[in-house]
Subunit: 276 residues, 2 copies
Protein backbone atom coordinates (compact mmCIF):
# COMPACT_ATOMS: atom_id res chain seq x y z
CA UNK A 1 0.00 0.00 0.00
CA UNK A 2 1.47 3.30 -1.03
CA UNK A 3 0.10 6.32 0.81
CA UNK A 4 1.61 9.19 -1.13
CA UNK A 5 1.05 12.92 -1.10
CA UNK A 6 -0.39 13.97 -4.47
CA UNK A 7 0.76 17.38 -5.64
CA UNK A 8 -0.08 19.69 -8.52
CA UNK A 9 2.65 18.37 -10.84
CA UNK A 10 1.57 15.34 -12.84
CA UNK A 11 5.12 14.33 -13.85
CA UNK A 12 6.15 14.83 -10.23
CA UNK A 13 3.36 12.57 -8.96
CA UNK A 14 4.14 9.88 -11.51
CA UNK A 15 7.84 9.99 -10.65
CA UNK A 16 6.95 9.71 -6.97
CA UNK A 17 4.72 6.68 -7.63
CA UNK A 18 7.44 5.02 -9.70
CA UNK A 19 9.95 5.64 -6.94
CA UNK A 20 7.62 4.12 -4.32
CA UNK A 21 6.96 1.09 -6.50
CA UNK A 22 10.71 0.51 -6.62
CA UNK A 23 11.02 1.03 -2.89
CA UNK A 24 8.13 -1.36 -2.20
CA UNK A 25 9.69 -3.98 -4.43
CA UNK A 26 13.07 -3.58 -2.71
CA UNK A 27 11.29 -4.08 0.61
CA UNK A 28 9.91 -7.41 -0.65
CA UNK A 29 6.42 -6.41 -1.79
CA UNK A 30 5.01 -8.36 -4.74
CA UNK A 31 1.86 -6.33 -5.29
CA UNK A 32 1.77 -2.58 -4.86
CA UNK A 33 -1.40 -0.49 -4.68
CA UNK A 34 -1.46 3.25 -5.35
CA UNK A 35 -4.19 5.63 -4.19
CA UNK A 36 -7.11 6.97 -6.21
CA UNK A 37 -6.05 9.87 -8.49
CA UNK A 38 -2.40 9.24 -7.68
CA UNK A 39 -1.17 11.11 -10.75
CA UNK A 40 -2.96 14.44 -10.47
CA UNK A 41 -5.53 16.45 -8.56
CA UNK A 42 -9.09 15.29 -9.18
CA UNK A 43 -10.77 16.57 -12.34
CA UNK A 44 -11.01 16.15 -16.10
CA UNK A 45 -8.30 18.75 -16.64
CA UNK A 46 -5.63 16.10 -16.13
CA UNK A 47 -7.44 13.31 -17.97
CA UNK A 48 -5.56 11.07 -20.36
CA UNK A 49 -6.23 7.88 -22.32
CA UNK A 50 -5.34 4.39 -21.10
CA UNK A 51 -2.83 3.30 -22.25
CA UNK A 52 -1.26 6.75 -21.92
CA UNK A 53 1.69 8.44 -20.26
CA UNK A 54 0.71 7.55 -16.68
CA UNK A 55 0.01 3.87 -17.31
CA UNK A 56 3.09 3.65 -19.53
CA UNK A 57 5.21 4.79 -16.59
CA UNK A 58 3.48 2.27 -14.30
CA UNK A 59 4.00 -0.47 -16.87
CA UNK A 60 7.74 0.22 -16.98
CA UNK A 61 7.90 0.34 -13.19
CA UNK A 62 6.03 -2.97 -12.95
CA UNK A 63 8.40 -4.58 -15.47
CA UNK A 64 11.58 -3.09 -14.03
CA UNK A 65 10.69 -4.32 -10.57
CA UNK A 66 8.89 -7.51 -11.61
CA UNK A 67 5.90 -6.56 -9.48
CA UNK A 68 2.12 -6.29 -9.82
CA UNK A 69 0.95 -2.68 -9.82
CA UNK A 70 -2.65 -1.87 -8.96
CA UNK A 71 -2.42 1.59 -10.37
CA UNK A 72 -4.63 3.54 -8.00
CA UNK A 73 -6.76 5.49 -10.40
CA UNK A 74 -6.43 8.16 -13.02
CA UNK A 75 -9.13 10.18 -14.72
CA UNK A 76 -9.38 8.42 -18.07
CA UNK A 77 -10.48 10.06 -21.30
CA UNK A 78 -12.13 7.42 -23.45
CA UNK A 79 -13.70 8.90 -26.58
CA UNK A 80 -15.91 11.75 -25.39
CA UNK A 81 -16.37 10.28 -21.92
CA UNK A 82 -14.36 10.44 -18.74
CA UNK A 83 -13.94 7.62 -16.22
CA UNK A 84 -12.24 7.08 -12.87
CA UNK A 85 -10.09 4.13 -13.87
CA UNK A 86 -7.64 1.74 -12.25
CA UNK A 87 -5.11 0.08 -14.55
CA UNK A 88 -3.57 -3.17 -13.34
CA UNK A 89 -0.09 -3.94 -14.61
CA UNK A 90 1.54 -7.35 -14.40
CA UNK A 91 5.18 -8.10 -13.56
CA UNK A 92 6.06 -8.20 -17.27
CA UNK A 93 4.70 -4.70 -17.69
CA UNK A 94 1.59 -5.84 -19.52
CA UNK A 95 -1.80 -4.31 -18.68
CA UNK A 96 -3.75 -7.24 -17.23
CA UNK A 97 -7.00 -5.40 -16.76
CA UNK A 98 -8.52 -2.04 -16.13
CA UNK A 99 -11.38 -1.21 -13.84
CA UNK A 100 -13.65 1.79 -14.34
CA UNK A 101 -15.27 2.98 -11.11
CA UNK A 102 -18.87 1.79 -11.07
CA UNK A 103 -20.38 3.62 -8.09
CA UNK A 104 -19.72 7.32 -8.64
CA UNK A 105 -19.55 9.42 -5.49
CA UNK A 106 -22.56 11.67 -5.11
CA UNK A 107 -23.02 13.20 -1.69
CA UNK A 108 -25.14 16.05 -0.49
CA UNK A 109 -24.34 17.26 3.00
CA UNK A 110 -24.60 21.04 2.74
CA UNK A 111 -22.05 22.76 4.96
CA UNK A 112 -20.01 19.58 5.30
CA UNK A 113 -19.46 17.91 1.97
CA UNK A 114 -21.24 18.27 -1.35
CA UNK A 115 -19.89 16.50 -4.39
CA UNK A 116 -21.37 14.99 -7.53
CA UNK A 117 -18.88 12.83 -9.36
CA UNK A 118 -21.58 11.66 -11.76
CA UNK A 119 -21.82 15.20 -13.14
CA UNK A 120 -18.41 14.93 -14.73
CA UNK A 121 -17.63 11.23 -15.03
CA UNK A 122 -19.34 8.19 -16.53
CA UNK A 123 -19.66 4.99 -14.52
CA UNK A 124 -18.01 1.75 -15.54
CA UNK A 125 -20.13 -1.31 -16.15
CA UNK A 126 -17.84 -4.20 -15.42
CA UNK A 127 -16.44 -5.80 -12.28
CA UNK A 128 -12.73 -6.56 -12.48
CA UNK A 129 -10.90 -9.48 -10.95
CA UNK A 130 -7.42 -10.73 -11.68
CA UNK A 131 -5.35 -13.72 -10.68
CA UNK A 132 -1.88 -13.58 -9.21
CA UNK A 133 0.30 -16.46 -7.98
CA UNK A 134 -0.70 -15.41 -4.45
CA UNK A 135 -4.44 -14.92 -4.60
CA UNK A 136 -7.31 -13.70 -6.76
CA UNK A 137 -7.97 -9.99 -6.38
CA UNK A 138 -11.10 -7.92 -6.91
CA UNK A 139 -10.81 -4.20 -7.56
CA UNK A 140 -13.03 -1.32 -6.53
CA UNK A 141 -12.42 2.39 -6.13
CA UNK A 142 -13.25 4.35 -2.96
CA UNK A 143 -17.05 4.84 -2.94
CA UNK A 144 -17.48 1.31 -4.34
CA UNK A 145 -16.64 0.14 -0.83
CA UNK A 146 -19.98 1.47 0.38
CA UNK A 147 -21.80 -1.11 -1.68
CA UNK A 148 -21.80 -4.42 0.13
CA UNK A 149 -23.05 -6.28 -2.92
CA UNK A 150 -19.86 -5.59 -4.87
CA UNK A 151 -17.67 -7.21 -2.23
CA UNK A 152 -20.15 -10.09 -1.99
CA UNK A 153 -19.95 -10.71 -5.74
CA UNK A 154 -16.16 -10.68 -5.68
CA UNK A 155 -16.01 -13.05 -2.71
CA UNK A 156 -18.54 -15.39 -4.31
CA UNK A 157 -16.42 -15.44 -7.45
CA UNK A 158 -13.40 -16.57 -5.45
CA UNK A 159 -11.45 -13.42 -4.57
CA UNK A 160 -9.35 -13.65 -1.42
CA UNK A 161 -8.29 -10.01 -1.48
CA UNK A 162 -10.18 -6.85 -2.40
CA UNK A 163 -8.22 -3.71 -3.19
CA UNK A 164 -9.79 -0.27 -3.10
CA UNK A 165 -7.62 2.63 -4.24
CA UNK A 166 -9.40 5.44 -2.42
CA UNK A 167 -9.52 9.07 -1.53
CA UNK A 168 -11.96 9.20 1.37
CA UNK A 169 -12.61 12.65 2.77
CA UNK A 170 -12.11 13.73 6.35
CA UNK A 171 -15.92 13.60 6.81
CA UNK A 172 -16.73 10.16 5.43
CA UNK A 173 -13.29 8.77 6.27
CA UNK A 174 -13.60 9.49 9.96
CA UNK A 175 -17.24 8.45 10.19
CA UNK A 176 -17.51 5.36 8.06
CA UNK A 177 -14.43 4.21 6.21
CA UNK A 178 -12.76 1.83 8.62
CA UNK A 179 -16.12 0.44 9.64
CA UNK A 180 -16.91 -0.37 6.02
CA UNK A 181 -13.50 -1.82 5.30
CA UNK A 182 -13.60 -4.04 8.36
CA UNK A 183 -17.10 -5.33 7.71
CA UNK A 184 -16.40 -6.10 4.05
CA UNK A 185 -13.54 -8.29 5.33
CA UNK A 186 -15.60 -9.83 8.12
CA UNK A 187 -18.77 -10.48 6.11
CA UNK A 188 -17.00 -11.95 3.12
CA UNK A 189 -14.01 -13.58 4.82
CA UNK A 190 -11.54 -11.83 2.56
CA UNK A 191 -8.61 -9.46 3.04
CA UNK A 192 -9.47 -5.85 2.22
CA UNK A 193 -6.85 -3.24 1.35
CA UNK A 194 -7.41 0.48 0.98
CA UNK A 195 -4.74 2.90 -0.27
CA UNK A 196 -5.32 6.62 0.25
CA UNK A 197 -3.34 9.71 -0.62
CA UNK A 198 -1.46 11.04 2.39
CA UNK A 199 -3.33 13.58 4.47
CA UNK A 200 -2.27 17.05 3.45
CA UNK A 201 -4.06 19.62 5.57
CA UNK A 202 -2.89 22.41 3.24
CA UNK A 203 -4.68 20.88 0.27
CA UNK A 204 -8.12 22.03 -0.95
CA UNK A 205 -9.27 18.43 -0.62
CA UNK A 206 -7.91 16.79 2.51
CA UNK A 207 -7.76 13.01 2.26
CA UNK A 208 -8.40 10.89 5.33
CA UNK A 209 -5.28 8.77 4.90
CA UNK A 210 -5.28 5.67 7.11
CA UNK A 211 -4.37 3.27 4.31
CA UNK A 212 -4.52 -0.24 5.69
CA UNK A 213 -5.11 -3.89 5.08
CA UNK A 214 -7.68 -5.71 7.19
CA UNK A 215 -7.72 -9.48 7.46
CA UNK A 216 -10.89 -11.63 7.61
CA UNK A 217 -11.02 -11.70 11.39
CA UNK A 218 -9.73 -8.16 11.85
CA UNK A 219 -6.96 -9.20 14.16
CA UNK A 220 -4.05 -7.60 12.30
CA UNK A 221 -5.76 -4.30 11.93
CA UNK A 222 -3.53 -2.25 14.16
CA UNK A 223 -0.40 -3.20 12.30
CA UNK A 224 -1.37 -1.23 9.26
CA UNK A 225 -2.60 2.12 10.44
CA UNK A 226 -0.86 5.15 9.11
CA UNK A 227 -1.64 8.78 9.16
CA UNK A 228 1.37 10.68 7.97
CA UNK A 229 1.53 13.62 5.62
CA UNK A 230 4.14 11.93 3.43
CA UNK A 231 3.99 8.23 2.59
CA UNK A 232 4.38 4.76 3.97
CA UNK A 233 4.87 1.38 2.42
CA UNK A 234 4.13 -2.01 3.85
CA UNK A 235 3.71 -5.51 2.64
CA UNK A 236 1.45 -8.26 3.90
CA UNK A 237 2.68 -11.75 4.73
CA UNK A 238 1.39 -13.68 1.73
CA UNK A 239 1.60 -16.91 3.64
CA UNK A 240 -1.71 -16.00 5.17
CA UNK A 241 -3.51 -16.31 1.84
CA UNK A 242 -2.10 -19.60 0.73
CA UNK A 243 -4.11 -22.02 2.72
CA UNK A 244 -3.03 -21.12 6.23
CA UNK A 245 -5.01 -18.22 7.58
CA UNK A 246 -8.22 -17.81 5.61
CA UNK A 247 -9.25 -21.49 5.79
CA UNK A 248 -8.80 -21.32 9.55
CA UNK A 249 -11.12 -18.35 9.78
CA UNK A 250 -13.62 -20.10 7.53
CA UNK A 251 -13.49 -23.17 9.71
CA UNK A 252 -14.05 -21.11 12.84
CA UNK A 253 -16.90 -19.14 11.27
CA UNK A 254 -18.52 -21.42 8.68
CA UNK A 255 -20.54 -18.61 7.08
CA UNK A 256 -20.44 -20.08 3.58
CA UNK A 257 -21.86 -23.40 4.71
CA UNK A 258 -24.67 -21.62 6.54
CA UNK A 259 -25.39 -19.48 3.47
CA UNK A 260 -25.62 -22.55 1.25
CA UNK A 261 -28.02 -24.25 3.63
CA UNK A 262 -30.15 -21.14 3.88
CA UNK A 263 -30.34 -20.81 0.10
CA UNK A 264 -31.77 -24.29 -0.11
CA UNK A 265 -34.21 -23.66 2.70
CA UNK A 266 -35.82 -20.32 1.95
CA UNK A 267 -38.90 -20.96 -0.06
CA UNK A 268 -40.87 -17.79 0.27
CA UNK A 269 -39.92 -14.15 -0.04
CA UNK A 270 -40.57 -11.99 3.00
CA UNK A 271 -44.26 -11.44 3.55
CA UNK A 272 -45.43 -8.48 5.56
CA UNK A 273 -47.63 -9.21 8.53
CA UNK A 274 -49.87 -6.45 9.69
CA UNK A 275 -52.59 -5.90 12.19
CA UNK A 276 -53.26 -2.31 11.14
CA UNK B 1 -34.98 -2.48 24.38
CA UNK B 2 -35.08 -4.60 27.47
CA UNK B 3 -31.73 -5.86 28.68
CA UNK B 4 -32.70 -8.27 31.42
CA UNK B 5 -30.80 -10.84 33.43
CA UNK B 6 -32.12 -14.28 32.60
CA UNK B 7 -32.13 -16.69 35.53
CA UNK B 8 -32.86 -20.39 36.00
CA UNK B 9 -36.54 -19.90 36.87
CA UNK B 10 -38.77 -19.77 33.82
CA UNK B 11 -41.76 -18.28 35.67
CA UNK B 12 -39.37 -15.78 37.26
CA UNK B 13 -37.98 -14.74 33.87
CA UNK B 14 -41.42 -14.40 32.36
CA UNK B 15 -42.63 -12.32 35.30
CA UNK B 16 -39.57 -10.12 34.95
CA UNK B 17 -40.20 -9.60 31.22
CA UNK B 18 -43.85 -8.76 31.89
CA UNK B 19 -42.82 -6.27 34.54
CA UNK B 20 -40.33 -4.60 32.17
CA UNK B 21 -42.91 -4.42 29.41
CA UNK B 22 -45.15 -2.53 31.80
CA UNK B 23 -42.32 -0.28 32.87
CA UNK B 24 -41.34 0.43 29.25
CA UNK B 25 -44.93 1.28 28.42
CA UNK B 26 -45.18 3.60 31.42
CA UNK B 27 -42.01 5.32 30.22
CA UNK B 28 -43.67 5.97 26.84
CA UNK B 29 -42.33 3.10 24.74
CA UNK B 30 -44.63 1.79 22.03
CA UNK B 31 -42.59 -1.18 20.93
CA UNK B 32 -40.61 -3.29 23.35
CA UNK B 33 -37.97 -5.83 22.38
CA UNK B 34 -36.83 -8.62 24.68
CA UNK B 35 -33.54 -10.53 24.36
CA UNK B 36 -32.98 -13.93 22.78
CA UNK B 37 -33.96 -16.76 25.15
CA UNK B 38 -35.51 -14.30 27.58
CA UNK B 39 -37.63 -16.94 29.29
CA UNK B 40 -35.09 -19.61 30.18
CA UNK B 41 -31.49 -20.72 29.84
CA UNK B 42 -30.63 -21.92 26.33
CA UNK B 43 -31.58 -25.50 25.49
CA UNK B 44 -34.44 -27.77 24.53
CA UNK B 45 -35.11 -28.62 28.18
CA UNK B 46 -37.22 -25.48 28.50
CA UNK B 47 -38.87 -25.71 25.08
CA UNK B 48 -42.58 -25.07 24.71
CA UNK B 49 -45.05 -24.62 21.86
CA UNK B 50 -46.09 -21.26 20.43
CA UNK B 51 -48.68 -20.26 21.42
CA UNK B 52 -47.76 -21.52 24.86
CA UNK B 53 -47.32 -20.25 28.39
CA UNK B 54 -44.53 -17.76 27.58
CA UNK B 55 -46.21 -16.18 24.57
CA UNK B 56 -49.53 -16.18 26.42
CA UNK B 57 -47.92 -14.05 29.14
CA UNK B 58 -46.44 -11.72 26.53
CA UNK B 59 -49.78 -11.47 24.78
CA UNK B 60 -51.46 -10.39 28.00
CA UNK B 61 -48.68 -7.90 28.72
CA UNK B 62 -48.98 -6.47 25.19
CA UNK B 63 -52.74 -6.11 25.57
CA UNK B 64 -52.66 -4.74 29.10
CA UNK B 65 -50.15 -2.08 28.10
CA UNK B 66 -51.39 -1.56 24.54
CA UNK B 67 -47.86 -2.05 23.22
CA UNK B 68 -46.06 -4.05 20.53
CA UNK B 69 -43.93 -6.81 22.01
CA UNK B 70 -41.10 -8.29 19.98
CA UNK B 71 -40.79 -11.27 22.22
CA UNK B 72 -37.07 -11.91 22.14
CA UNK B 73 -36.93 -15.60 21.52
CA UNK B 74 -37.90 -18.83 23.14
CA UNK B 75 -36.93 -22.37 22.23
CA UNK B 76 -40.06 -23.54 20.44
CA UNK B 77 -41.20 -27.14 20.25
CA UNK B 78 -43.10 -27.62 17.00
CA UNK B 79 -43.98 -31.26 16.39
CA UNK B 80 -40.76 -33.20 16.76
CA UNK B 81 -38.56 -30.21 15.93
CA UNK B 82 -37.13 -27.37 17.95
CA UNK B 83 -36.67 -23.79 16.76
CA UNK B 84 -35.29 -20.54 18.15
CA UNK B 85 -38.39 -18.42 17.67
CA UNK B 86 -39.45 -14.83 18.16
CA UNK B 87 -43.18 -14.22 18.65
CA UNK B 88 -44.46 -10.74 17.85
CA UNK B 89 -47.50 -9.59 19.77
CA UNK B 90 -49.65 -6.63 18.80
CA UNK B 91 -51.21 -4.06 21.14
CA UNK B 92 -54.45 -6.03 21.22
CA UNK B 93 -52.59 -9.08 22.42
CA UNK B 94 -52.84 -10.90 19.11
CA UNK B 95 -49.82 -12.74 17.69
CA UNK B 96 -48.99 -10.82 14.53
CA UNK B 97 -46.20 -13.05 13.37
CA UNK B 98 -43.52 -15.40 14.51
CA UNK B 99 -39.99 -15.63 13.23
CA UNK B 100 -37.92 -18.80 13.42
CA UNK B 101 -34.18 -18.14 13.43
CA UNK B 102 -32.81 -18.92 9.98
CA UNK B 103 -29.04 -18.75 10.46
CA UNK B 104 -28.19 -21.12 13.28
CA UNK B 105 -25.06 -20.33 15.22
CA UNK B 106 -22.26 -22.77 14.49
CA UNK B 107 -18.82 -21.66 15.60
CA UNK B 108 -15.63 -23.60 16.06
CA UNK B 109 -12.91 -21.73 17.91
CA UNK B 110 -11.36 -24.38 20.15
CA UNK B 111 -10.29 -22.91 23.49
CA UNK B 112 -12.43 -19.82 22.97
CA UNK B 113 -15.91 -20.71 21.84
CA UNK B 114 -17.32 -23.86 20.28
CA UNK B 115 -21.03 -24.15 19.72
CA UNK B 116 -23.25 -25.91 17.21
CA UNK B 117 -26.81 -24.67 17.40
CA UNK B 118 -27.72 -26.67 14.30
CA UNK B 119 -27.12 -29.90 16.23
CA UNK B 120 -30.15 -29.31 18.40
CA UNK B 121 -32.38 -26.84 16.53
CA UNK B 122 -33.90 -26.66 13.07
CA UNK B 123 -33.62 -23.48 11.01
CA UNK B 124 -36.61 -21.41 9.99
CA UNK B 125 -37.30 -20.83 6.32
CA UNK B 126 -39.17 -17.54 6.25
CA UNK B 127 -38.21 -13.91 6.67
CA UNK B 128 -40.58 -11.98 8.92
CA UNK B 129 -41.64 -8.35 8.57
CA UNK B 130 -44.49 -6.56 10.27
CA UNK B 131 -46.08 -3.16 10.00
CA UNK B 132 -46.69 -0.80 12.86
CA UNK B 133 -48.12 2.73 12.79
CA UNK B 134 -44.52 3.94 13.19
CA UNK B 135 -42.53 1.93 10.70
CA UNK B 136 -42.14 -1.46 9.07
CA UNK B 137 -39.94 -3.81 11.05
CA UNK B 138 -37.83 -6.79 10.00
CA UNK B 139 -36.90 -9.41 12.56
CA UNK B 140 -33.74 -11.49 12.93
CA UNK B 141 -32.19 -13.29 15.86
CA UNK B 142 -28.57 -12.81 16.94
CA UNK B 143 -26.38 -14.71 14.44
CA UNK B 144 -28.71 -13.62 11.62
CA UNK B 145 -27.03 -10.23 11.95
CA UNK B 146 -23.85 -11.69 10.48
CA UNK B 147 -25.57 -12.22 7.17
CA UNK B 148 -25.64 -8.97 5.25
CA UNK B 149 -28.06 -10.33 2.68
CA UNK B 150 -30.84 -10.67 5.26
CA UNK B 151 -30.69 -6.99 6.19
CA UNK B 152 -30.50 -6.10 2.49
CA UNK B 153 -33.65 -8.08 1.73
CA UNK B 154 -35.53 -6.43 4.58
CA UNK B 155 -34.41 -2.95 3.55
CA UNK B 156 -35.32 -3.62 -0.08
CA UNK B 157 -38.76 -4.71 1.04
CA UNK B 158 -39.27 -1.42 2.85
CA UNK B 159 -38.27 -2.00 6.46
CA UNK B 160 -37.10 1.11 8.31
CA UNK B 161 -36.14 -0.75 11.47
CA UNK B 162 -34.51 -4.12 11.99
CA UNK B 163 -34.75 -5.76 15.39
CA UNK B 164 -32.40 -8.51 16.48
CA UNK B 165 -33.12 -10.14 19.84
CA UNK B 166 -29.64 -11.48 20.59
CA UNK B 167 -27.38 -13.21 23.00
CA UNK B 168 -23.90 -12.45 21.65
CA UNK B 169 -21.07 -13.99 23.61
CA UNK B 170 -18.19 -12.11 25.18
CA UNK B 171 -15.96 -13.34 22.33
CA UNK B 172 -18.04 -12.43 19.28
CA UNK B 173 -19.76 -9.55 21.05
CA UNK B 174 -16.56 -7.72 21.77
CA UNK B 175 -14.97 -8.48 18.42
CA UNK B 176 -17.74 -8.08 15.92
CA UNK B 177 -21.18 -7.22 17.21
CA UNK B 178 -21.24 -3.45 17.23
CA UNK B 179 -19.36 -3.36 13.96
CA UNK B 180 -22.01 -5.56 12.34
CA UNK B 181 -24.91 -3.65 13.85
CA UNK B 182 -23.53 -0.31 12.72
CA UNK B 183 -22.79 -1.44 9.18
CA UNK B 184 -26.20 -3.04 8.72
CA UNK B 185 -27.64 0.38 9.59
CA UNK B 186 -25.18 2.29 7.42
CA UNK B 187 -25.33 0.03 4.35
CA UNK B 188 -29.08 -0.25 4.32
CA UNK B 189 -30.05 3.15 5.73
CA UNK B 190 -32.23 1.64 8.40
CA UNK B 191 -32.36 1.73 12.19
CA UNK B 192 -30.99 -1.43 13.81
CA UNK B 193 -31.86 -2.49 17.34
CA UNK B 194 -30.26 -5.30 19.29
CA UNK B 195 -31.52 -6.50 22.69
CA UNK B 196 -29.23 -8.72 24.75
CA UNK B 197 -29.57 -10.37 28.12
CA UNK B 198 -27.71 -8.43 30.79
CA UNK B 199 -24.14 -9.46 31.37
CA UNK B 200 -23.94 -11.84 34.27
CA UNK B 201 -20.35 -12.81 34.90
CA UNK B 202 -21.47 -15.59 37.29
CA UNK B 203 -23.45 -17.34 34.56
CA UNK B 204 -22.10 -20.33 32.60
CA UNK B 205 -22.82 -18.37 29.41
CA UNK B 206 -21.87 -14.72 29.78
CA UNK B 207 -23.76 -12.45 27.39
CA UNK B 208 -22.05 -9.39 25.94
CA UNK B 209 -24.87 -7.00 26.81
CA UNK B 210 -24.57 -3.62 25.10
CA UNK B 211 -28.14 -3.56 23.83
CA UNK B 212 -28.55 -0.52 21.64
CA UNK B 213 -30.25 1.10 18.71
CA UNK B 214 -28.15 2.51 15.88
CA UNK B 215 -29.53 5.01 13.42
CA UNK B 216 -28.71 5.07 9.69
CA UNK B 217 -25.88 7.55 10.06
CA UNK B 218 -24.69 6.18 13.41
CA UNK B 219 -24.87 9.51 15.13
CA UNK B 220 -27.04 8.51 18.07
CA UNK B 221 -25.03 5.51 18.93
CA UNK B 222 -23.61 6.65 22.21
CA UNK B 223 -27.00 7.35 23.70
CA UNK B 224 -27.91 3.73 23.83
CA UNK B 225 -24.99 1.87 25.27
CA UNK B 226 -25.56 -0.18 28.36
CA UNK B 227 -23.58 -2.74 30.15
CA UNK B 228 -25.19 -3.42 33.48
CA UNK B 229 -25.73 -6.69 35.22
CA UNK B 230 -29.43 -5.99 35.74
CA UNK B 231 -31.59 -4.28 33.15
CA UNK B 232 -32.27 -1.03 31.37
CA UNK B 233 -35.09 0.27 29.28
CA UNK B 234 -35.11 3.02 26.73
CA UNK B 235 -37.30 4.30 23.99
CA UNK B 236 -36.37 5.83 20.69
CA UNK B 237 -37.89 9.08 19.37
CA UNK B 238 -40.23 7.72 16.71
CA UNK B 239 -40.35 11.08 15.06
CA UNK B 240 -37.12 10.15 13.35
CA UNK B 241 -38.80 7.41 11.36
CA UNK B 242 -41.79 9.33 10.12
CA UNK B 243 -40.32 11.24 7.27
CA UNK B 244 -37.85 13.44 9.12
CA UNK B 245 -34.59 11.69 9.73
CA UNK B 246 -34.22 8.77 7.34
CA UNK B 247 -35.14 10.76 4.21
CA UNK B 248 -32.49 13.32 5.17
CA UNK B 249 -29.86 10.61 5.41
CA UNK B 250 -31.01 9.17 2.11
CA UNK B 251 -30.75 12.56 0.49
CA UNK B 252 -27.26 13.08 1.84
CA UNK B 253 -26.14 9.60 0.79
CA UNK B 254 -28.23 8.62 -2.25
CA UNK B 255 -27.19 4.97 -2.13
CA UNK B 256 -30.46 3.64 -3.48
CA UNK B 257 -30.32 5.85 -6.56
CA UNK B 258 -26.75 4.72 -7.25
CA UNK B 259 -27.76 1.09 -6.79
CA UNK B 260 -30.61 1.45 -9.26
CA UNK B 261 -28.34 3.03 -11.85
CA UNK B 262 -25.74 0.33 -11.37
CA UNK B 263 -28.33 -2.41 -11.79
CA UNK B 264 -29.24 -0.97 -15.17
CA UNK B 265 -25.61 -0.60 -16.19
CA UNK B 266 -23.93 -3.84 -15.30
CA UNK B 267 -24.14 -6.10 -18.29
CA UNK B 268 -21.51 -8.69 -17.63
CA UNK B 269 -20.68 -10.75 -14.60
CA UNK B 270 -17.16 -10.43 -13.27
CA UNK B 271 -14.64 -12.01 -15.58
CA UNK B 272 -11.27 -13.02 -14.25
CA UNK B 273 -8.24 -11.55 -15.95
CA UNK B 274 -5.04 -13.47 -15.68
CA UNK B 275 -1.55 -13.37 -16.98
CA UNK B 276 -0.47 -16.55 -15.27
Amino acid sequence: MVQMAVGMSKPGNIAKAVSFIKEASSAGAQIVTLPECFNAPYGTKYAEPIPGPSTQALSEAAKNNCIYVVGGSIIEKDGTKFYNTCAILGPNGEMIAKYKKIHLFDINMPGKLTFKESDILSPGNEFTMFKTPFCTIGVGICYDMRFAEMAQIYANKGCQLLLYPSEFSMTTGSKHLLLLQRVRALDNQVFVGMASPARDTEDTYVAWGHSCVVNPCLSSLNDFWMDTACFEIFSYPWLEFDGVFTPKVMEAYPLTAVRQNVKKLIKRPASVHTNL
